[in-house]
């Protein structure tokens, strides 16, 4: 009988000790916020364009965490959908065309001689990438423009163009070779060599 009491006492003590440790850990190592939202946010392209129907990437990340579809981000495109699917353990689905289609990255340019200095685009820019003051010419800080299009609509004189990002010899890189089986195409007339 004594052994039984001893066992119960030891188990009770152990339970108390571990309970105390867990309780302490729960307070000491408490995680603030929802880490999954931040992880999703990290995968989104941060254009802050609102094409998904949310006022920015973080709100969309929150919505995805709450169960919204992962295919509403046109700037991120297939790459982002794939990454999100990997993270969340769901199937990758094609981009929802209702929210826009995947396009090449563009950057806003203000035709400066036409700008009337109304500051409307400055207020619309989600990343403060437009510089200017009332009745002064505005310009886009191209290094910080996300190409979200949000400045186009408020411009009263339509002096903002979205131009594709220029390819420079530094940013240029080889494309994937077109994979052909020799028998599927007639031989080319000229030889080529090396690694190209």
């Amino acid at each position: 009988m004594q052994t039984l009491y001893l066992a119960i006492t030891i188990l009770a003590l152990l339970a108390l000790v571990f309970g105390a440790i867990l309780g302490y850990a729960a307070i000491r190592f408490k995680v603030d916020g929802d880490p999954i939202v931040n992880q999703i946010d990290n995968l989104l392209p941060q254009t802050q364009c609102g094409q998904c129907g949310h006022p920015g990437c973080k709100p969309y990340a929150q919505a995805i965490a709450d169960g919204e579809a992962i295919n509403r981000c046109p700037p991120g495109g297939e790459t982002t959908i794939k990454a999100l699917a990997d993270l969340l353990g769901v199937d990758a689905i094609p981009l929802d065309a209702e929210h826009g289609t995947e396009a090449i990255r563009t950057i806003a340019y203000i035709r400066e001689d036409e700008c009337i200095g109304c500051t409307k685009c400055i207020q619309a820019c989600p990343v403060d990438a437009i510089l200017g003051a009332a009745k002064q010419m505005h310009t886009v800080i191209t290094a910080e423009c996300t190409g979200c299009d949000l400045c186009l609509e408020p411009c009263p004189v339509d002096c903002i163009d979205m131009l594709p990002v220029e390819v420079t010899p530094v940013s240029w890189h080889w494309q994937q070779p077109t994979n052909l089986i020799a028998t599927s195409q007639a031989p080319r007339s000229h030889g080529a060599s090396g690694n190209e």
Binding site: G56, D128, W172, H173, H190, G191, G194, E196
Partner: protein
């Protein structure tokens, strides 16, 4: 001779060096035009400091290095800057870049040079400054600014000089070693001085016996004369194997050490320089000449005068090809660089730049023609050939499936793009192009991630700013309200008898209203009658207008028609009511509007008659008759007017009006 090691893999393509290494270096005539891209090196492009129209002397600085990893550019010959514009670059992409274009005047007039007679007396910083000012970049192919390599942070124990020249066809380093051995050794000594006097190993492949002989002799003489004062320089003969000239491979051959993943040779105490680079260093210090020319091999069966040419940087490829008698009709493919690592150029108006070591104008069947590639058969030959000990096959699958993370995990970044894997591939898969594509995408993705991070930070700080602004505004408003309340309270405290101004104003308004009500007189009948009449008229007009609008809307089949229809019926009812009220009131007053109207018409008629007769009298031939009629008319006018006046007077004095009031 010190021990020689081996590196993993490697291949033995046909060398084809004899085509171009028989002839001594020929200095090419000054071309008419020189094109100098601002970015011939790795790092930031230089900044042009001349303007179109400026006259420049040979060796004059025309573009300034921007930042630490960048290089100066000098005018290779005297002449006039004709333009600074976009020209096609000698680059795989065939994209354009900003170039300074100089139209040479043929005088080839040097700027005043300041050669150093006793380089031993120079301090290291002076020496580095001279090398930096001369715009020297690696002449082997990559074009990394040399001055950066010559001031490493770590302690250097070995300086490796790369004279391996392992790519087939190219012989520019071979000829340079044979003909400029003294300058090379001088350059090596300067580099040794800068690096803290490490030992020097010159690596040369055994397929260049003449170069080995010349250098061994020069080095032997040197060590005999000044063995005590100078650190050792050793010529190391290495077996011919591609790519022994790769920096990391040569270091492994000569020292047995491997450069760590993601590291640079300086991490293991080694610096590697090309033979052309040390010659350029010697020229810059001993002669004061900046880097304005280089030795370029022109070879291939299409070149009648295959050989090595000392060309000015900026010389057009087409000019050099013409000088070497290249028959462009015989070649379908012009390669800049060697057959293994070079790239095809389409536009022969691109210039020779600091890193252009070879132009290969091969005949159609000279280079192995690449058929469309077959499927990978997993033979594993590529793995055997890879000098970087990677798994080319795995990298190929990952690149093809765009699984860049996995490719990174398989050390994609360690690939030196030597092309050995593609050379051995029995399926002729363009493996290197897959790796280049994957590397490019990895770079793109990293760049995108960087931009995304930047955007996130900016977006979040903007949100925070907007919230702060809002809070600040709210705070201000509260403060203002508090101040106003305080001021009010103070006022009241100062004058306790004073009424509350709002209550006072309300009281005033009420008093006024009451007074008005008291003053208001009962309406006279005429007034009330008039009001009713006006109301009836207004409703009639409204009804008319709306009816018209309705007609319009119906005609145009407008959607408003429905609404208008209801309005019209409402107005009709209202108009009827108003008319009824008016008539009832008229009946009550005992008025006969018809009678009044008749009287009014009578008066108007009489008036018109009188006016007509008066006019007629002025022009009449028999005024007497007219006059009589006028008298008559005037009397009837007076009668009619009297009748109307009577009627109106009766209305005013009507008994009902007395009753009502």
């Amino acid at each position: 001779m010190s021990k020689i090691w081996d590196f993993h893999g490697g291949v033995h393509p046909v060398e084809n060096k004899a085509q171009s290494n028989q002839m001594p270096i020929v200095t090419m005539a000054i071309p008419k035009q020189l094109i100098l891209p601002l970015n011939q090196h790795i790092g930031k492009p230089a900044k042009a400091i001349v303007e179109p129209g400026d006259y420049v002397l040979k060796g004059q600085l025309i573009a300034c290095a921007q930042g630490f990893v960048s290089a100066n550019i000098h005018a290779p010959s005297s002449g006039q800057v004709s333009a600074i514009e976009l020209r096609t670059l000698p680059h795989q992409s065939a994209l354009t870049g900003t170039c300074i274009v100089i139209d040479t005047d043929g005088k080839d007039q040097w700027i005043a040079l300041s050669p150093t007679l006793e380089p031993e007396s120079l301090s290291n910083s002076d020496l580095l400054h001279i090398i930096q000012a001369a715009g020297i970049t690696g002449m082997g192919g990559a074009g990394f600014p040399s001055v950066v390599k010559l001031q490493p942070k770590a302690k250097i124990h070995t300086l490796v000089i790369n004279g391996a020249e392992c790519e087939p066809y190219i012989t520019s380093d071979d000829r340079l070693m044979r003909e400029y051995a003294d300058e090379m050794i001088k350059g090596i000594q300067l580099a040794q001085k800068l690096l803290g006097q490490p030992r020097c190993l010159i690596g040369i492949e055994d397929n260049k016996p003449e170069a080995i002989a010349v250098l061994t002799q020069v080095v032997g003489l040197l060590s005999k004369n000044s063995a005590s004062t100078h650190p050792s320089i050793e010529v190391c003969v290495i077996p011919t194997k591609y790519p022994s000239g790769g920096e990391k491979q040569l270091i492994e051959i000569l020292t047995g050490q491997q450069v760590p993943h993601g590291g640079i040779p300086a991490d293991i105490g080694i610096v590697c320089q090309n033979v052309g680079t040390v010659k350029a260093i010697s020229d810059a210090v001993m002669l004061g000449q900046p880097l304005i020319n280089r030795i370029t091999t022109v070879t291939g069966k299409a070149a009648a005068n295959a050989g090595n040419y000392e060309v000015l940087i900026g010389t057009k490829v087409s000019d050099l090809l013409a000088f070497a008698n290249v028959d462009m009709t015989k070649t379908s493919r012009l390669v800049m660089g060697g057959p293994m690592m070079g790239f095809t150029i389409q536009d022969t108006h691109t210039p020779i730049i600091k890193s252009s070591n070879c132009l290969l104008a091969a005949e159609d069947l000279e280079l192995a023609p690449v058929a469309n590639h077959h499927s990978c058969i997993r033979c594993g030959l590529c793995e055997v050939a890879c000098p970087a000990q990677l798994l080319p096959q795995q990298l190929f699958w990952f690149a093809k499936a765009e699984e860049f993370e996995k490719a990174q995990d398989h050390n994609l970044s360690d690939c030196i793009e030597c092309g050995a894997c593609a050379w051995v591939c029995p399926s002729q898969i363009p493996l290197v192009q897959y790796y280049r594509f994957a590397k490019g995408r990895v770079k793109d993705l990293a760049n995108e991630a960087h931009i995304a991070e930047l955007s996130r930070v900016r977006f979040e700080s903007r949100e925070q700013r907007l919230i702060d602004d809002k809070l600040a505004k709210e705070e201000k408003r509260k403060n203002r309200a508090a101040t106003a309340a305080a001021a009010q309270a103070e006022k009241r405290a100062a004058n306790p008898n004073a009424q509350d101004p709002i209550a006072a104003a309300m009281a005033r308004v009420n008093a006024q209203k009451q007074a008005k009500a008291m003053d208001a007189e009962p309406k006279s009948h005429t007034q009330k009658y008039k009001e009713l009449k006006t109301a009836a008229a207004i409703t009639r007009t409204k009804l008319n207008k709306t009816s018209k609008a309705l007609a319009n809307a119906l005609a145009k089949d407008h959607e408003l028609a429905q609404g208008l229809q209801t309005t019209v019926s409402e107005l009709t009812e209202k108009a009827m009511h108003a008319q009824a009220a008016l008539q009832a009131y008229e009946a009550k007053l005992g008025l006969d509007p018809e009678k009044e109207k008749t009287l009014q018409v009578d008066v108007a008629k009489a008036n018109a008659m009188v006016r007509k007769l008066e006019k007629a009298l002025a022009t009449a031939e028999e005024p007497k008759d007219v006059e009589a009629e006028l008298v008559k008319a005037r009397s009837s006018q007076t009668k009619a007017t009297d009748a109307l006046t009577n009627h109106q007077a009766n209305l005013k004095a009507s008994p009902i009006s007395a009753q009502e009031s």
